[in-house]
């Protein structure tokens, strides 16, 4: 693990920017591409200051033209640049999906390994601000389903920084999914001189003997809240932050579940055909003999995200939903 040195607390969104900046300082081939990422600093101000530091050649504003600029980033990645391309909302995958589905993910394989695609697609999700059904989706399962892509979903300030640096250094297309409701969270940056984490290493956030909660992104903090509440009832939950869905750290998950005998997978995305189903299946296939209860999935119901604040709040899984999932797992003998 990296050590904390910069003692000034920074926000999750600053950590993302600092991660990009650190790699841009160290590697002239890293460039930033997206809508309003330049002098205006991005719609959430995540990239503020990068244009001033690195200039218009390496920090490029684009038209609202995702297929062209994501596609161009794919072509640029194949020919010498390491683009970090911003897809403003994860929902906008829909307008440029071919560039990930059929291009970035497959061109290395189809050329027998002659091409590499060191590309980061930065995007963000995070329902809860009445953004409506086209600006609220957690679509990680869709990209994780495509061989050739990696999928990273940082939950903390430290990871936002480290995993961004690791994603930029990775020689593969990485979909780096931020959660906008974490943008204001404060924490400490790791030492920029240290090698960033490698992708695919989960983190045990809380130890516990009774049940394993497997989660990622903003659901990590909600799972910790659930675990604290459950502790009052004498249930000790272990919380694992996967950090990345692809690669997925099966080892850490399975080791935990073999100890606890119970597992809950918690994510913000809708439950059916989600990443929770994949993780539940892996646990069942690999640790069936250790299981004392069926693996429980916690997530959103299969509906488009409603706009009206009370409806939306009731649709997004919260700490209580995670706790309810744990109780369900505990109830089974």
């Amino acid at each position: 693990m990296s050590t904390l040195t910069e003692r000034q607390a920074v926000r999750y969104m600053d950590a993302i920017r600092e991660g990009i900046a650190a790699e841009m300082r160290g590697d002239d081939t890293v460039c930033l591409i997206g809508i309003d990422v330049g002098s205006s600093g991005g719609i959430f101000a995540v990239t503020r200051g990068l244009y001033e530091e690195f200039g218009p050649e390496r920090v490029r504003d684009t038209p609202i033209s995702e297929s062209a600029f994501v596609g161009a980033a794919v072509g640029a990645a194949a020919t010498g640049l390491r683009p970090v391309v911003e897809l403003m909302f994860m929902d906008f995958l829909g307008v440029c999906f071919d560039m990930l589905l059929n291009q970035a993910s497959k061109l290395r394989y189809m050329t027998g390994g002659l091409l590499e695609f060191p590309l980061v697609v930065r995007t963000q999700t995070g329902a809860g601000r009445s953004s409506g059904a086209q600006h609220s989706q957690s679509l990680e399962a869709i990209v994780a389903h495509i061989p050739g892509l990696k999928v990273v979903m940082p939950a903390t300030v430290e990871d936002a920084y480290d995993l961004m640096r690791a994603s930029i250094r990775d020689n593969n297309p990485v979909v780096y999914v931020e959660n906008r409701r974490l943008y204001g969270r404060r924490g400490y940056l790791p030492d920029s001189d240290e090698e960033p984490l490698s992708l695919g290493r989960a983190r045990v956030v809380r130890s516990g003997r009774d049940v394993t909660i497997v989660t990622w992104s903003r659901m990590v903090e909600l799972s910790l809240q659930a675990a604290a509440a459950l502790a009052g009832d004498g249930v000790e939950a272990e919380v694992i932050d996967l950090r990345s869905l692809v690669p997925l750290d099966d080892e850490t998950v399975l080791e935990s579940v073999r100890r606890t005998g119970r597992a809950v997978v918690a994510h913000e995305a809708v439950v059916p055909f989600g990443a929770g189903a994949e993780i539940a299946a892996r646990i069942t296939e690999e640790a069936f003999d250790s299981l004392r209860a069926a693996v429980v999935r916690v997530g959103a119901p299969p509906v488009p995200m409603p706009f009206s604040p009370p409806l939306e709040a009731a649709t997004i899984p919260d700490a209580e939903a995670v706790a309810a999932g744990v109780r369900k797992a505990m109830a089974a003998s």
Binding site: C31, P63, A68, G75, G112, E116, K150
Partner: protein, 323 residues
């Protein structure tokens, strides 16, 4: 007007390169019908002059991105004939270890980013390659080949616009062969031409007889020079004709016989040959020798492909991710 010596040589070289593509595509067509080559095959028979004329204007380090109908472009850019044929056979000695096939044939070592089976994908990918050249200060030009059918895809318009605002060194080459799959392209758009769309995006445009290899070369050379000197992208529309169906085996009931015959009479190889003979740049015997050499080269490639092994099953799992 007397031709310069290098111009005489060039026309013969262009003819020879077209003969190689013609021989390759004709043999591939037969091999596919005989079920020797698997998958889908889209030949470029009749369109050889576009591939050869454009690629002759490029340097080794320049890039091309192409389409499902891309064998000719790859050979014109210098792809190894043996490796290309073996790739179509799905053999381990193929350019892409047999993992791409006809629709995904590529050789980045020769500046070939690859064929692509998604209509229109070559345009944004080529725009990105041109972005690399621009940002990294490399004196390269990228060509995106695409068909007129792709001009109805959103990425055509998006890529032109992006390349224009960034003034990237990319040449968009539309091979207008008249048909988008089974459909007469004129029935699918009311535009006057594909080239006319360039003006809408502030992209310099030109139209050329795509069956006249010298004309294609001349306009491509001018466009490539402009790209290389920083004048931004160019859209070139080359009028040509797809002799065969959309795919190998397509019965082509949708094509008027007279139309097909008229275009066959404008065979780009015959046009070039006629010009060579009229200008007495070479003898008929020498030109016949070029044709025979091309056929012999393709026959050797076929033998190479046939005698090559299939990839080991372990290859299923390699090249998904880079280290």
């Amino acid at each position: 007007m007397a031709l310069q010596a290098h111009e005489k040589t060039r026309l013969i070289e262009l003819f020879a390169r077209m003969c190689l593509i013609r021989a390759f595509e004709q043999r591939v067509s037969s091999l596919y019908r005989e079920a020797e080559i698997p998958g889908f095959i889209h030949t470029s028979l009749g369109q050889e002059a576009v591939a050869v004329g454009v690629c002759a204007a490029l340097r080794d380090e320049d890039w091309i991105a192409t389409t499902h109908r891309g064998h000719g472009h790859c050979l014109a850019k210098g792809a190894d004939v043996d490796g290309a044929m073996a790739e179509l056979f799905g053999k381990a000695t193929g350019l892409c270890k047999g993992k791409g096939g006809s629709m995904h044939i590529a050789d980045p070592r020769k500046g070939i980013l690859g064929a692509n089976a998604i209509v229109g994908a070559s345009l944004p990918l080529a725009t990105g390659a041109a972005l690399s050249s621009h940002v990294l200060g490399r004196d390269e030009v990228t060509v995106a080949f695409f068909g007129e059918g792709a001009a109805n895809q959103g990425v055509f318009h998006e890529a032109l616009n992006l390349a224009a605002i960034w003034q990237l060194p990319v040449l968009f080459v539309c091979e207008n062969n008249g048909y988008a799959e089974f459909t007469d392209s004129r029935t699918m758009s009311r535009r006057e031409s594909v080239a006319a769309l360039g003006h809408a995006y502030g992209v310099r445009s030109a139209a050329v007889d795509g069956n006249d290899v010298e004309a294609v070369f001349a306009v491509a050379e001018d466009a490539v020079d402009g790209c290389r000197s920083g004048d931004g992208p160019v859209l070139l529309e080359a009028a040509t004709y797809r002799w065969q169906g959309h795919y190998e085996g397509d019965p082509q009931t949708y094509k008027p016989v007279e139309e097909a015959e008229a275009w066959l009479a404008r065979d780009p190889l015959l046009l070039a040959r006629g010009r060579i003979e009229a200008q007495e740049l070479s003898s008929a015997a020498e030109l016949d020798e070029i044709v025979r050499d091309a056929e012999a080269r393709v026959a050797r490639a076929e033998e190479f492909a046939r005698s090559s092994p299939y990839p080991d099953n372990a290859e299923i799992f390699t090249d998904v991710y880079a280290d």
